[in-house]
Symmetry: C2
Subunit: 249 residues, 2 copies
Amino acid sequence: MGSTQLEPVPEPKYWHLKTVLSDALDSEFAVGEILPNERELAARFGVARATLRQALEQLELEGRLQRRRGVGTTVAPPRMGVAVTDPEHSWPGAPGDAWQPVDAAEQTPPGAVARLLDMDPATSLHTVRRTRKTRGQPVATEVLYVPAAGVPGLAADAPPTGPARAHAVLRELQRLRLEGQDQAVELGSARADDAKQLDRLPGSPVLVVTTRYFSGGRTAAVAVATYRADTCRLTFGDATAPAVQLLAG
Amino acid sequence: MGSTQLEPVPEPKYWHLKTVLSDALDSEFAVGEILPNERELAARFGVARATLRQALEQLELEGRLQRRRGVGTTVAPPRMGVAVTDPEHSWPGAPGDAWQPVDAAEQTPPGAVARLLDMDPATSLHTVRRTRKTRGQPVATEVLYVPAAGVPGLAADAPPTGPARAHAVLRELQRLRLEGQDQAVELGSARADDAKQLDRLPGSPVLVVTTRYFSGGRTAAVAVATYRADTCRLTFGDATAPAVQLLAG
DNA sequence: CAGTGGTCTAGACCACATC
DNA sequence: ATGTGGTCTAGACCACTGA
Protein backbone atom coordinates (compact mmCIF):
# COMPACT_ATOMS: atom_id res chain seq x y z
CA MET A 1 0.00 0.00 0.00
CA GLY A 2 2.77 2.40 -0.95
CA SER A 3 0.43 4.94 -2.54
CA THR A 4 0.51 8.08 -0.50
CA GLN A 5 -1.64 10.38 -2.56
CA LEU A 6 -4.57 10.00 -4.90
CA GLU A 7 -4.17 11.54 -8.32
CA PRO A 8 -7.16 13.67 -9.30
CA VAL A 9 -9.75 11.64 -11.22
CA PRO A 10 -13.30 12.31 -12.35
CA GLU A 11 -14.73 9.41 -10.34
CA PRO A 12 -15.60 9.84 -6.65
CA LYS A 13 -12.65 9.66 -4.27
CA TYR A 14 -14.12 6.88 -2.19
CA TRP A 15 -14.61 4.77 -5.29
CA HIS A 16 -11.06 5.17 -6.44
CA LEU A 17 -9.91 4.61 -2.89
CA LYS A 18 -11.85 1.39 -2.79
CA THR A 19 -10.12 -0.04 -5.84
CA VAL A 20 -6.71 1.03 -4.54
CA LEU A 21 -7.39 -0.64 -1.20
CA SER A 22 -8.84 -3.69 -2.90
CA ASP A 23 -5.70 -4.16 -4.96
CA ALA A 24 -3.58 -3.69 -1.86
CA LEU A 25 -5.58 -6.36 -0.05
CA ASP A 26 -4.91 -8.81 -2.86
CA SER A 27 -1.21 -8.16 -3.09
CA GLU A 28 0.05 -7.02 0.28
CA PHE A 29 -2.11 -8.46 3.02
CA ALA A 30 -2.83 -11.90 4.39
CA VAL A 31 -6.18 -13.09 5.69
CA GLY A 32 -6.64 -12.03 9.29
CA GLU A 33 -4.04 -9.30 9.14
CA ILE A 34 -4.89 -5.99 10.81
CA LEU A 35 -4.95 -2.85 8.68
CA PRO A 36 -3.70 0.51 9.94
CA ASN A 37 -6.45 2.35 11.79
CA GLU A 38 -8.89 4.66 10.03
CA ARG A 39 -7.27 7.94 11.06
CA GLU A 40 -3.90 6.67 9.91
CA LEU A 41 -5.25 5.44 6.57
CA ALA A 42 -7.19 8.64 5.95
CA ALA A 43 -4.06 10.71 6.55
CA ARG A 44 -2.01 8.44 4.34
CA PHE A 45 -4.39 8.91 1.42
CA GLY A 46 -5.03 12.57 2.12
CA VAL A 47 -8.79 12.28 2.59
CA ALA A 48 -11.21 12.93 5.42
CA ARG A 49 -11.96 10.02 7.67
CA ALA A 50 -15.59 9.92 6.53
CA THR A 51 -14.47 9.44 2.94
CA LEU A 52 -12.14 6.64 3.86
CA ARG A 53 -14.92 5.02 5.85
CA GLN A 54 -17.17 5.06 2.79
CA ALA A 55 -14.58 2.97 0.96
CA LEU A 56 -14.13 0.60 3.90
CA GLU A 57 -17.89 0.16 4.20
CA GLN A 58 -18.14 -1.02 0.62
CA LEU A 59 -15.24 -3.42 1.03
CA GLU A 60 -16.90 -4.82 4.14
CA LEU A 61 -20.16 -5.17 2.20
CA GLU A 62 -18.29 -7.21 -0.38
CA GLY A 63 -16.87 -9.46 2.31
CA ARG A 64 -13.29 -8.30 1.86
CA LEU A 65 -12.89 -6.68 5.27
CA GLN A 66 -14.15 -7.18 8.78
CA ARG A 67 -14.37 -4.24 11.16
CA ARG A 68 -14.81 -4.59 14.90
CA ARG A 69 -15.25 -1.70 17.25
CA GLY A 70 -12.47 -1.43 19.80
CA VAL A 71 -10.33 -3.89 17.86
CA GLY A 72 -9.62 -2.78 14.33
CA THR A 73 -10.09 -3.67 10.70
CA THR A 74 -8.93 -7.07 9.51
CA VAL A 75 -8.73 -8.81 6.16
CA ALA A 76 -11.67 -11.20 5.90
CA PRO A 77 -11.35 -14.80 4.73
CA PRO A 78 -13.29 -15.80 1.60
CA ARG A 79 -16.99 -16.18 2.21
CA MET A 80 -18.24 -19.51 3.46
CA GLY A 81 -20.58 -21.45 1.22
CA VAL A 82 -23.61 -22.44 3.28
CA ALA A 83 -26.19 -24.82 1.87
CA VAL A 84 -29.64 -23.36 2.17
CA THR A 85 -31.83 -26.02 0.65
CA ASP A 86 -32.93 -28.51 3.29
CA PRO A 87 -31.42 -31.93 2.75
CA GLU A 88 -33.71 -33.97 0.51
CA HIS A 89 -36.33 -31.31 1.07
CA SER A 90 -37.18 -32.49 4.52
CA TRP A 91 -38.80 -30.71 7.44
CA PRO A 92 -36.75 -28.51 9.75
CA GLY A 93 -35.44 -30.59 12.59
CA ALA A 94 -34.89 -33.69 10.49
CA PRO A 95 -31.76 -35.65 11.38
CA GLY A 96 -28.67 -34.00 9.97
CA ASP A 97 -29.94 -30.49 9.52
CA ALA A 98 -27.52 -27.74 10.41
CA TRP A 99 -29.72 -25.84 12.82
CA GLN A 100 -29.79 -25.87 16.58
CA PRO A 101 -33.08 -25.18 18.37
CA VAL A 102 -32.82 -22.36 20.88
CA ASP A 103 -36.25 -21.57 22.11
CA ALA A 104 -39.94 -21.77 21.34
CA ALA A 105 -43.12 -20.02 22.33
CA GLU A 106 -46.68 -19.39 21.28
CA GLN A 107 -47.48 -15.90 20.00
CA THR A 108 -49.20 -13.89 17.29
CA PRO A 109 -47.39 -13.59 13.95
CA PRO A 110 -46.03 -10.41 12.34
CA GLY A 111 -48.35 -9.17 9.61
CA ALA A 112 -46.15 -10.33 6.74
CA VAL A 113 -46.01 -13.86 8.14
CA ALA A 114 -49.77 -13.97 8.65
CA ARG A 115 -50.19 -13.12 4.99
CA LEU A 116 -47.76 -15.84 3.91
CA LEU A 117 -49.66 -18.38 5.97
CA ASP A 118 -52.99 -16.94 4.90
CA MET A 119 -54.24 -16.75 8.46
CA ASP A 120 -55.86 -14.26 10.79
CA PRO A 121 -53.06 -12.10 12.30
CA ALA A 122 -54.75 -12.30 15.67
CA THR A 123 -54.46 -16.09 15.87
CA SER A 124 -51.47 -17.23 17.88
CA LEU A 125 -49.06 -19.81 16.48
CA HIS A 126 -45.99 -21.76 17.46
CA THR A 127 -42.66 -20.03 16.94
CA VAL A 128 -39.38 -21.85 17.11
CA ARG A 129 -36.12 -19.95 17.23
CA ARG A 130 -33.00 -21.63 15.88
CA THR A 131 -29.40 -20.70 15.12
CA ARG A 132 -26.84 -22.06 12.78
CA LYS A 133 -23.06 -22.12 13.07
CA THR A 134 -20.37 -22.89 10.55
CA ARG A 135 -16.80 -23.45 11.65
CA GLY A 136 -17.72 -22.24 15.12
CA GLN A 137 -19.07 -18.91 13.88
CA PRO A 138 -22.75 -18.00 14.09
CA VAL A 139 -23.92 -17.44 10.53
CA ALA A 140 -27.69 -17.33 10.77
CA THR A 141 -30.72 -17.07 13.00
CA GLU A 142 -34.16 -18.31 12.12
CA VAL A 143 -37.71 -18.11 13.31
CA LEU A 144 -40.02 -20.89 12.28
CA TYR A 145 -43.76 -20.21 12.33
CA VAL A 146 -46.16 -23.11 12.61
CA PRO A 147 -49.91 -22.54 12.88
CA ALA A 148 -51.34 -24.51 15.77
CA ALA A 149 -53.74 -26.20 13.35
CA GLY A 150 -50.76 -27.75 11.56
CA VAL A 151 -49.54 -29.71 14.57
CA PRO A 152 -52.61 -30.67 16.55
CA GLY A 153 -50.74 -33.55 18.16
CA LEU A 154 -48.48 -31.31 20.22
CA ALA A 155 -48.67 -32.66 23.75
CA ALA A 156 -50.65 -30.43 26.05
CA ASP A 157 -48.04 -30.92 28.73
CA ALA A 158 -45.18 -29.70 26.55
CA PRO A 159 -43.19 -26.98 28.32
CA PRO A 160 -44.49 -23.49 27.49
CA THR A 161 -41.07 -22.21 26.39
CA GLY A 162 -37.45 -23.23 26.01
CA PRO A 163 -35.44 -25.71 23.93
CA ALA A 164 -37.52 -28.65 25.09
CA ARG A 165 -40.61 -27.09 23.60
CA ALA A 166 -38.69 -26.33 20.39
CA HIS A 167 -37.85 -30.00 20.07
CA ALA A 168 -41.45 -30.97 20.75
CA VAL A 169 -42.77 -28.74 17.96
CA LEU A 170 -40.14 -29.94 15.48
CA ARG A 171 -40.93 -33.55 16.36
CA GLU A 172 -44.59 -33.00 15.53
CA LEU A 173 -43.65 -31.58 12.13
CA GLN A 174 -41.87 -34.80 11.15
CA ARG A 175 -45.19 -36.62 11.37
CA LEU A 176 -46.62 -34.63 8.46
CA ARG A 177 -46.08 -35.38 4.80
CA LEU A 178 -43.97 -32.63 3.22
CA GLU A 179 -45.31 -31.97 -0.25
CA GLY A 180 -42.96 -29.26 -1.36
CA GLN A 181 -41.18 -26.09 -0.45
CA ASP A 182 -40.49 -22.69 -1.81
CA GLN A 183 -37.67 -20.26 -1.09
CA ALA A 184 -36.94 -16.60 -1.61
CA VAL A 185 -33.82 -14.56 -0.89
CA GLU A 186 -33.67 -10.84 -0.37
CA LEU A 187 -31.47 -8.20 1.19
CA GLY A 188 -32.32 -6.85 4.60
CA SER A 189 -30.73 -5.25 7.61
CA ALA A 190 -30.31 -7.03 10.91
CA ARG A 191 -32.84 -6.34 13.64
CA ALA A 192 -31.34 -5.61 17.02
CA ASP A 193 -31.88 -9.11 18.41
CA ASP A 194 -30.63 -10.91 15.33
CA ALA A 195 -27.60 -8.64 15.21
CA LYS A 196 -26.71 -9.61 18.75
CA GLN A 197 -26.88 -13.31 17.98
CA LEU A 198 -24.87 -12.87 14.79
CA ASP A 199 -22.23 -10.84 16.61
CA ARG A 200 -22.82 -7.82 14.39
CA LEU A 201 -24.16 -4.31 14.86
CA PRO A 202 -27.86 -3.63 14.32
CA GLY A 203 -28.53 -2.69 10.74
CA SER A 204 -25.75 -4.83 9.30
CA PRO A 205 -26.65 -6.21 5.89
CA VAL A 206 -28.17 -9.68 5.97
CA LEU A 207 -29.61 -12.11 3.48
CA VAL A 208 -33.13 -13.03 4.44
CA VAL A 209 -34.28 -16.46 3.27
CA THR A 210 -37.99 -17.14 3.48
CA THR A 211 -39.01 -20.77 3.15
CA ARG A 212 -42.57 -22.01 2.81
CA TYR A 213 -43.34 -25.62 3.60
CA PHE A 214 -46.37 -27.20 1.98
CA SER A 215 -48.36 -30.02 3.45
CA GLY A 216 -51.96 -31.09 3.09
CA GLY A 217 -52.41 -28.72 0.16
CA ARG A 218 -51.62 -25.62 2.16
CA THR A 219 -48.71 -23.70 3.68
CA ALA A 220 -48.02 -25.63 6.85
CA ALA A 221 -45.03 -23.64 8.07
CA VAL A 222 -42.90 -20.64 7.23
CA ALA A 223 -39.28 -20.13 8.16
CA VAL A 224 -37.56 -16.74 8.05
CA ALA A 225 -33.79 -17.15 8.24
CA THR A 226 -31.32 -14.28 8.55
CA TYR A 227 -27.80 -14.91 7.27
CA ARG A 228 -24.77 -12.65 7.73
CA ALA A 229 -24.27 -11.14 4.29
CA ASP A 230 -20.62 -10.35 4.88
CA THR A 231 -19.47 -13.88 5.60
CA CYS A 232 -21.94 -16.09 3.74
CA ARG A 233 -22.48 -17.27 0.20
CA LEU A 234 -25.79 -19.12 0.04
CA THR A 235 -25.67 -22.24 -2.09
CA PHE A 236 -28.64 -23.91 -3.73
CA GLY A 237 -27.57 -27.36 -4.73
CA ASP A 238 -28.96 -29.65 -7.35
CA ALA A 239 -29.59 -33.30 -6.62
CA THR A 240 -28.45 -34.14 -10.14
CA ALA A 241 -24.90 -33.19 -9.32
CA PRO A 242 -24.37 -34.12 -5.70
CA ALA A 243 -20.62 -34.63 -5.88
CA VAL A 244 -19.86 -31.12 -7.02
CA GLN A 245 -22.13 -29.54 -4.47
CA LEU A 246 -19.82 -30.56 -1.67
CA LEU A 247 -16.98 -28.49 -3.09
CA ALA A 248 -18.97 -25.29 -2.74
CA GLY A 249 -17.54 -24.47 0.67
CA MET B 1 -45.04 12.18 9.94
CA GLY B 2 -46.13 14.62 12.60
CA SER B 3 -43.14 13.99 14.86
CA THR B 4 -41.05 17.12 14.98
CA GLN B 5 -38.41 16.20 17.52
CA LEU B 6 -36.71 13.01 18.64
CA GLU B 7 -36.83 12.29 22.35
CA PRO B 8 -33.43 11.34 23.72
CA VAL B 9 -32.87 7.58 23.63
CA PRO B 10 -29.86 5.35 24.22
CA GLU B 11 -29.92 3.92 20.70
CA PRO B 12 -28.27 5.76 17.82
CA LYS B 13 -30.28 8.63 16.37
CA TYR B 14 -30.24 7.27 12.84
CA TRP B 15 -31.63 3.97 14.07
CA HIS B 16 -34.48 5.58 15.92
CA LEU B 17 -35.05 7.87 12.96
CA LYS B 18 -35.26 4.86 10.70
CA THR B 19 -38.04 3.26 12.71
CA VAL B 20 -39.93 6.55 12.92
CA LEU B 21 -39.70 7.01 9.15
CA SER B 22 -40.56 3.39 8.55
CA ASP B 23 -43.76 3.72 10.57
CA ALA B 24 -44.61 6.91 8.74
CA LEU B 25 -44.13 5.16 5.41
CA ASP B 26 -46.58 2.47 6.45
CA SER B 27 -49.24 4.82 7.70
CA GLU B 28 -48.97 8.12 5.87
CA PHE B 29 -47.50 7.56 2.44
CA ALA B 30 -48.58 5.80 -0.71
CA VAL B 31 -46.30 3.93 -3.10
CA GLY B 32 -44.64 6.35 -5.49
CA GLU B 33 -45.24 9.39 -3.33
CA ILE B 34 -42.37 11.86 -3.00
CA LEU B 35 -40.97 12.54 0.46
CA PRO B 36 -39.85 16.01 1.55
CA ASN B 37 -36.26 16.63 0.55
CA GLU B 38 -33.33 15.69 2.77
CA ARG B 39 -32.60 19.18 4.07
CA GLU B 40 -36.24 19.64 4.96
CA LEU B 41 -36.49 16.26 6.69
CA ALA B 42 -33.25 16.77 8.61
CA ALA B 43 -34.51 20.13 9.89
CA ARG B 44 -37.86 18.65 10.81
CA PHE B 45 -36.25 15.97 12.97
CA GLY B 46 -33.55 18.24 14.30
CA VAL B 47 -30.58 16.22 13.04
CA ALA B 48 -27.72 16.84 10.66
CA ARG B 49 -28.33 15.91 7.06
CA ALA B 50 -25.67 13.19 7.23
CA THR B 51 -27.53 11.52 10.07
CA LEU B 52 -30.80 11.62 8.22
CA ARG B 53 -29.08 10.19 5.18
CA GLN B 54 -27.84 7.24 7.23
CA ALA B 55 -31.45 6.40 8.02
CA LEU B 56 -32.57 6.84 4.41
CA GLU B 57 -29.73 4.62 3.20
CA GLN B 58 -30.91 1.77 5.38
CA LEU B 59 -34.49 2.17 4.27
CA GLU B 60 -33.34 2.11 0.66
CA LEU B 61 -31.28 -1.01 1.39
CA GLU B 62 -34.44 -2.65 2.68
CA GLY B 63 -36.31 -1.72 -0.46
CA ARG B 64 -38.63 0.75 1.27
CA LEU B 65 -37.39 3.87 -0.51
CA GLN B 66 -35.97 4.81 -3.84
CA ARG B 67 -33.70 7.82 -4.17
CA ARG B 68 -32.81 9.46 -7.46
CA ARG B 69 -30.40 12.32 -7.83
CA GLY B 70 -32.00 15.44 -9.18
CA VAL B 71 -35.45 14.04 -8.58
CA GLY B 72 -36.10 13.15 -4.97
CA THR B 73 -36.91 10.29 -2.62
CA THR B 74 -39.98 8.21 -3.34
CA VAL B 75 -41.77 5.38 -1.59
CA ALA B 76 -40.79 2.13 -3.29
CA PRO B 77 -43.28 -0.55 -4.30
CA PRO B 78 -42.90 -3.99 -2.70
CA ARG B 79 -40.02 -5.98 -4.12
CA MET B 80 -40.64 -8.01 -7.24
CA GLY B 81 -40.28 -11.76 -6.96
CA VAL B 82 -38.00 -12.93 -9.76
CA ALA B 83 -37.54 -16.62 -10.44
CA VAL B 84 -33.88 -17.51 -10.54
CA THR B 85 -33.90 -21.21 -11.20
CA ASP B 86 -33.90 -21.88 -14.95
CA PRO B 87 -37.16 -23.44 -16.11
CA GLU B 88 -36.89 -27.22 -15.93
CA HIS B 89 -33.18 -26.75 -15.38
CA SER B 90 -32.50 -26.00 -18.99
CA TRP B 91 -29.63 -24.21 -20.67
CA PRO B 92 -29.59 -20.43 -20.91
CA GLY B 93 -31.27 -19.38 -24.10
CA ALA B 94 -33.85 -22.16 -24.02
CA PRO B 95 -37.30 -21.10 -25.21
CA GLY B 96 -39.13 -19.12 -22.57
CA ASP B 97 -36.24 -17.94 -20.49
CA ALA B 98 -36.45 -14.40 -19.20
CA TRP B 99 -33.15 -13.13 -20.55
CA GLN B 100 -32.39 -11.09 -23.59
CA PRO B 101 -29.02 -11.52 -25.31
CA VAL B 102 -27.16 -8.26 -25.73
CA ASP B 103 -23.70 -9.03 -26.94
CA ALA B 104 -21.02 -11.66 -27.16
CA ALA B 105 -17.28 -11.82 -27.60
CA GLU B 106 -14.27 -14.03 -27.08
CA GLN B 107 -11.91 -13.03 -24.26
CA THR B 108 -9.92 -14.29 -21.30
CA PRO B 109 -11.85 -14.93 -18.07
CA PRO B 110 -11.47 -13.11 -14.73
CA GLY B 111 -9.43 -15.18 -12.29
CA ALA B 112 -12.42 -16.24 -10.20
CA VAL B 113 -14.25 -17.55 -13.27
CA ALA B 114 -11.17 -19.44 -14.47
CA ARG B 115 -11.08 -21.20 -11.10
CA LEU B 116 -14.77 -22.10 -11.28
CA LEU B 117 -14.25 -23.58 -14.73
CA ASP B 118 -10.98 -25.18 -13.70
CA MET B 119 -9.18 -23.76 -16.72
CA ASP B 120 -6.02 -21.85 -17.53
CA PRO B 121 -6.79 -18.11 -17.01
CA ALA B 122 -4.86 -17.30 -20.18
CA THR B 123 -7.19 -19.35 -22.39
CA SER B 124 -9.85 -17.27 -24.06
CA LEU B 125 -13.52 -18.27 -23.91
CA HIS B 126 -16.89 -17.20 -25.19
CA THR B 127 -18.69 -14.56 -23.16
CA VAL B 128 -22.33 -13.73 -23.68
CA ARG B 129 -23.85 -10.67 -22.06
CA ARG B 130 -27.57 -10.69 -21.31
CA THR B 131 -30.06 -8.52 -19.48
CA ARG B 132 -33.34 -9.19 -17.84
CA LYS B 133 -36.35 -6.97 -17.37
CA THR B 134 -39.45 -7.33 -15.24
CA ARG B 135 -42.42 -5.07 -15.74
CA GLY B 136 -40.32 -2.93 -18.06
CA GLN B 137 -37.62 -2.30 -15.46
CA PRO B 138 -34.11 -3.69 -15.86
CA VAL B 139 -33.54 -6.00 -12.90
CA ALA B 140 -30.39 -7.91 -13.76
CA THR B 141 -27.38 -8.21 -16.00
CA GLU B 142 -25.50 -11.40 -16.65
CA VAL B 143 -22.29 -12.62 -18.18
CA LEU B 144 -22.19 -16.20 -19.35
CA TYR B 145 -18.80 -17.85 -19.72
CA VAL B 146 -18.46 -20.84 -22.04
CA PRO B 147 -15.06 -22.43 -22.66
CA ALA B 148 -14.47 -22.84 -26.37
CA ALA B 149 -13.96 -26.56 -25.82
CA GLY B 150 -17.56 -26.83 -24.67
CA VAL B 151 -19.08 -25.66 -27.96
CA PRO B 152 -16.75 -26.90 -30.71
CA GLY B 153 -19.56 -26.71 -33.22
CA LEU B 154 -19.74 -22.92 -33.21
CA ALA B 155 -19.69 -21.90 -36.84
CA ALA B 156 -16.39 -20.38 -37.90
CA ASP B 157 -18.27 -17.72 -39.80
CA ALA B 158 -20.29 -16.57 -36.79
CA PRO B 159 -20.01 -12.80 -36.35
CA PRO B 160 -17.16 -11.86 -33.97
CA THR B 161 -19.38 -9.76 -31.70
CA GLY B 162 -22.93 -8.54 -31.26
CA PRO B 163 -26.34 -10.08 -30.55
CA ALA B 164 -26.12 -12.41 -33.53
CA ARG B 165 -23.04 -14.02 -32.06
CA ALA B 166 -24.77 -14.26 -28.68
CA HIS B 167 -27.58 -16.22 -30.28
CA ALA B 168 -25.11 -18.46 -32.08
CA VAL B 169 -23.33 -19.39 -28.86
CA LEU B 170 -26.58 -20.02 -27.00
CA ARG B 171 -27.83 -22.18 -29.85
CA GLU B 172 -24.74 -24.37 -29.59
CA LEU B 173 -25.34 -24.85 -25.88
CA GLN B 174 -28.75 -26.38 -26.51
CA ARG B 175 -27.07 -29.25 -28.35
CA LEU B 176 -25.36 -30.45 -25.16
CA ARG B 177 -26.90 -32.65 -22.54
CA LEU B 178 -27.37 -30.66 -19.32
CA GLU B 179 -26.58 -32.93 -16.41
CA GLY B 180 -27.19 -30.56 -13.56
CA GLN B 181 -26.65 -27.12 -12.18
CA ASP B 182 -25.56 -25.39 -9.06
CA GLN B 183 -26.31 -21.93 -7.74
CA ALA B 184 -24.95 -19.55 -5.16
CA VAL B 185 -26.18 -16.15 -3.99
CA GLU B 186 -24.09 -13.50 -2.32
CA LEU B 187 -24.09 -9.78 -1.68
CA GLY B 188 -21.97 -7.53 -3.85
CA SER B 189 -21.76 -3.99 -5.08
CA ALA B 190 -22.47 -3.00 -8.64
CA ARG B 191 -19.52 -2.48 -10.94
CA ALA B 192 -19.66 0.71 -13.00
CA ASP B 193 -20.92 -0.97 -16.18
CA ASP B 194 -23.55 -3.09 -14.44
CA ALA B 195 -24.72 -0.06 -12.50
CA LYS B 196 -25.30 1.81 -15.72
CA GLN B 197 -27.40 -0.97 -17.19
CA LEU B 198 -29.37 -1.35 -13.98
CA ASP B 199 -29.99 2.39 -13.80
CA ARG B 200 -28.27 2.67 -10.44
CA LEU B 201 -25.12 4.33 -9.11
CA PRO B 202 -21.87 2.36 -9.03
CA GLY B 203 -21.50 0.57 -5.74
CA SER B 204 -25.21 0.00 -5.24
CA PRO B 205 -25.93 -3.24 -3.42
CA VAL B 206 -26.64 -6.16 -5.72
CA LEU B 207 -27.33 -9.85 -5.34
CA VAL B 208 -24.83 -11.87 -7.31
CA VAL B 209 -26.05 -15.26 -8.49
CA THR B 210 -23.42 -17.66 -9.75
CA THR B 211 -24.72 -20.63 -11.70
CA ARG B 212 -22.60 -23.57 -12.80
CA TYR B 213 -23.87 -25.79 -15.61
CA PHE B 214 -22.63 -29.35 -15.76
CA SER B 215 -22.32 -31.39 -18.90
CA GLY B 216 -20.09 -34.25 -19.90
CA GLY B 217 -18.96 -34.71 -16.30
CA ARG B 218 -17.47 -31.24 -16.04
CA THR B 219 -18.43 -27.59 -15.65
CA ALA B 220 -19.47 -26.61 -19.16
CA ALA B 221 -20.52 -23.04 -18.46
CA VAL B 222 -20.72 -20.46 -15.69
CA ALA B 223 -23.16 -17.59 -15.46
CA VAL B 224 -22.66 -14.61 -13.14
CA ALA B 225 -25.88 -12.64 -12.80
CA THR B 226 -26.18 -9.32 -10.97
CA TYR B 227 -29.63 -8.43 -9.60
CA ARG B 228 -30.69 -5.11 -8.14
CA ALA B 229 -30.92 -5.81 -4.42
CA ASP B 230 -33.29 -2.94 -3.76
CA THR B 231 -36.07 -4.06 -6.07
CA CYS B 232 -35.68 -7.84 -6.28
CA ARG B 233 -36.60 -10.83 -4.18
CA LEU B 234 -35.02 -13.91 -5.72
CA THR B 235 -37.27 -16.95 -5.71
CA PHE B 236 -36.16 -20.53 -5.88
CA GLY B 237 -39.13 -22.62 -6.77
CA ASP B 238 -39.81 -26.25 -6.20
CA ALA B 239 -41.19 -28.45 -8.95
CA THR B 240 -43.29 -30.28 -6.37
CA ALA B 241 -45.45 -27.21 -5.83
CA PRO B 242 -45.65 -25.48 -9.18
CA ALA B 243 -48.98 -23.80 -8.61
CA VAL B 244 -47.83 -21.85 -5.61
CA GLN B 245 -44.64 -20.77 -7.25
CA LEU B 246 -46.52 -18.58 -9.63
CA LEU B 247 -47.95 -16.53 -6.81
CA ALA B 248 -44.52 -15.52 -5.60
CA GLY B 249 -44.49 -12.31 -7.61
C1' DC C 1 -32.44 27.82 -14.17
C1' DA C 2 -33.64 26.04 -9.39
C1' DG C 3 -33.95 21.99 -6.71
C1' DT C 4 -32.59 17.37 -5.77
C1' DG C 5 -29.53 13.80 -3.97
C1' DG C 6 -24.24 12.60 -3.94
C1' DT C 7 -19.66 13.68 -2.26
C1' DC C 8 -16.43 15.64 0.92
C1' DT C 9 -14.38 18.05 4.88
C1' DA C 10 -12.56 18.77 9.72
C1' DG C 11 -13.66 18.49 13.48
C1' DA C 12 -16.12 16.34 18.13
C1' DC C 13 -17.66 12.86 21.27
C1' DC C 14 -19.23 8.01 22.36
C1' DA C 15 -19.07 2.77 23.06
C1' DC C 16 -16.32 -0.89 23.27
C1' DA C 17 -12.13 -4.04 23.65
C1' DT C 18 -7.79 -4.70 25.45
C1' DC C 19 -4.01 -4.22 28.43
C1' DA D 1 -5.93 4.31 30.37
C1' DT D 2 -5.40 3.86 25.61
C1' DG D 3 -6.79 2.95 21.10
C1' DT D 4 -10.23 1.29 18.05
C1' DG D 5 -14.32 1.82 15.13
C1' DG D 6 -19.24 4.09 15.50
C1' DT D 7 -22.02 8.28 15.63
C1' DC D 8 -22.87 13.08 14.79
C1' DT D 9 -22.41 17.94 13.34
C1' DA D 10 -22.50 22.05 10.21
C1' DG D 11 -21.08 23.38 6.82
C1' DA D 12 -19.38 23.29 1.40
C1' DC D 13 -19.48 22.07 -3.37
C1' DC D 14 -20.71 18.86 -7.30
C1' DA D 15 -23.73 16.18 -10.70
C1' DC D 16 -27.85 15.46 -12.27
C1' DT D 17 -33.00 16.24 -13.45
C1' DG D 18 -36.65 18.74 -15.06
C1' DA D 19 -39.16 22.94 -16.02
